[in-house]
Symmetry: C2
Amino acid sequence: MKFRIKKKCHNARSGLLELQHGSVRTPVFMTIGTYGAVRGLCKNDLENCKTEMMLCNAYHLMNNVANICFDQSISLHEYISWDKPILTDSGGYQVFSLSSLTKISEEGVTFKSPQNGDTIFLSPEKAIDVQIKLGSDIMMIFDECAKYPLSWELTRTSMELSLHWARLSKNSNYSSNPLFGIVQGGMYDDLREISLNELLNLNFDGYALGGLSVGEPNELREDIVTNFAPKLPFDKPRYLMGVGKPQDIIRAVNSGIDMFDCVIPTRNGRNGQLFTNNGTVNIRNKKYENDLEPIDSGCPCFTCKNYSKSMLRHLDKCNDALAARLMSIHNVYFYQDLMSRIRASIENDSLDALSKDIIEAFEEKK
Amino acid sequence: MKFRIKKKCHNARSGLLELQHGSVRTPVFMTIGTYGAVRGLCKNDLENCKTEMMLCNAYHLMNNVANICFDQSISLHEYISWDKPILTDSGGYQVFSLSSLTKISEEGVTFKSPQNGDTIFLSPEKAIDVQIKLGSDIMMIFDECAKYPLSWELTRTSMELSLHWARLSKNSNYSSNPLFGIVQGGMYDDLREISLNELLNLNFDGYALGGLSVGEPNELREDIVTNFAPKLPFDKPRYLMGVGKPQDIIRAVNSGIDMFDCVIPTRNGRNGQLFTNNGTVNIRNKKYENDLEPIDSGCPCFTCKNYSKSMLRHLDKCNDALAARLMSIHNVYFYQDLMSRIRASIENDSLDALSKDIIEAFEEKK
């Protein structure tokens, strides 16, 4: 992995991240394909939406897909027919958010699979092993994501467990795949400082801010990002996990973040919320019933080039999977286009103006 | 509408059907897009599958879409972004199969909408009006589809009502759109003879065999098709409604049928049943879990070119809409390719050999 910063604009940076499966321009938004696919979208859809990188979840792929890939000597990329970079999340977040009956020890977590009820043990070593088997371009350490709200004492215990697991993750990486550390510490600056400093000693290939977008007020998250993004190593990629709305992204870019992922474009798209430069459109609104205009007449995405708001609303009402797909395509394109405009604005010193536009469009109309 | 028979092979014919939105080679299989979309598939998917014609249901489009099209002076084709021919079914079949509380009179049918419970009155005149508003390339008369089994007396009453409605349908066509008659009469040859002869007097643009694939034994349906397909006017398109499996199609082609529609490729595809030249594959079978080969290594469809059986099975297990879509694409392509091979075999006098292959592949392994 190589990371090169091309241009700075205050704390914001545009750069190039070279990975095993290709180069990615930063700031980058990774589209989420939990199970190895962005729901309903094929590789061509994603390429047409200018997606440069996908995020997949080791948690959802560890029982079958990772073994298939390993046994048959192929990477996840080949399995899912996607030849561009993939970042894999380690599964820590999913273990704590999706599983019942989790039993935590220093060694790892025992939980019931929400798919089939099987008892599964997941450790830092196993999470890394799965990610290596998948041939991930960027692997994430296995950590515990503290709930919100949580007391200082419990957050400290959780953060220290995550640090222990960070060491185990690092030591168990028998591959040359890049591995990112994840700063935890909940909503407490002093705990995040400790987490960050210990992770810096472990010398990861990149650093993420984790444990955010877990229900805390926006202002609290923004304060933490504003404070901690600039403290992450300057010459390594900085990744804000699970964020977010367009205004959250552009604010974080201004603090120096390079990488993002979020379910919003796809999940909200499937539910009829569509992003435009003038804010969001809810396709389920009755006023679009007879509206033969596209979602955004200036948008060159496949959906806007071929389908009207009226048709999308009709398909959505009929529960046709094509509605979810076409609306996801529009939103994924919007997010990729947003990142492209953000990168351009850093390079031509107009980030302030773009930030103002984005924040106005989305915060006034949200 | 123009219909030209290019080549005959016993009763089978290959031909060209020229319609307002383009030419279609016959025998043709129309992919079903009930609500104006083939579930989950966009126009590009359909074109890549070599689909030449779609069937849409007036019943499902009459309350909103037909009015939008009429009010804004566009055709259904523009609304759904599909510029090739569309045949619209009149809604008769749906009224009787999907609706509760139907009240039938000589004038038409009153029923509760299964979508919203509204009381709807549908008459031959209204069914034609809706189809004209949609700008259909081929319209179907409004008729009653007799249930199976049904006594001779009740079937006669139903058939006579359908004949009455056929006259009303014909008389209410204020457009130049071609309108097809539908031969009814259930499983009774004498009633079908009466139906056919009366419809011939009305001089429709094409003729369909209706009231089949309603639960009767295959042999009974085959006998009726074998007997009645050749009696439909030679120089007009002959359409067998709601059929069927590959072996049913090729048998009907041998009897002289030119047009088909059926939910099998899409519905079965969504449920993991995939067609190949060697019979069907059920992707949910555990034996495909590690199978990195495509559904059919000789198939050039998008799905087979890019995804393995293992990946399709994984996506299907995860309930990702992409699974349903990719499997529909394969089956739609298979059906279009089947029709293409049927047409070629008529033209080069090898229909007997192809018929034998198809019947063996599907009847032995069903």
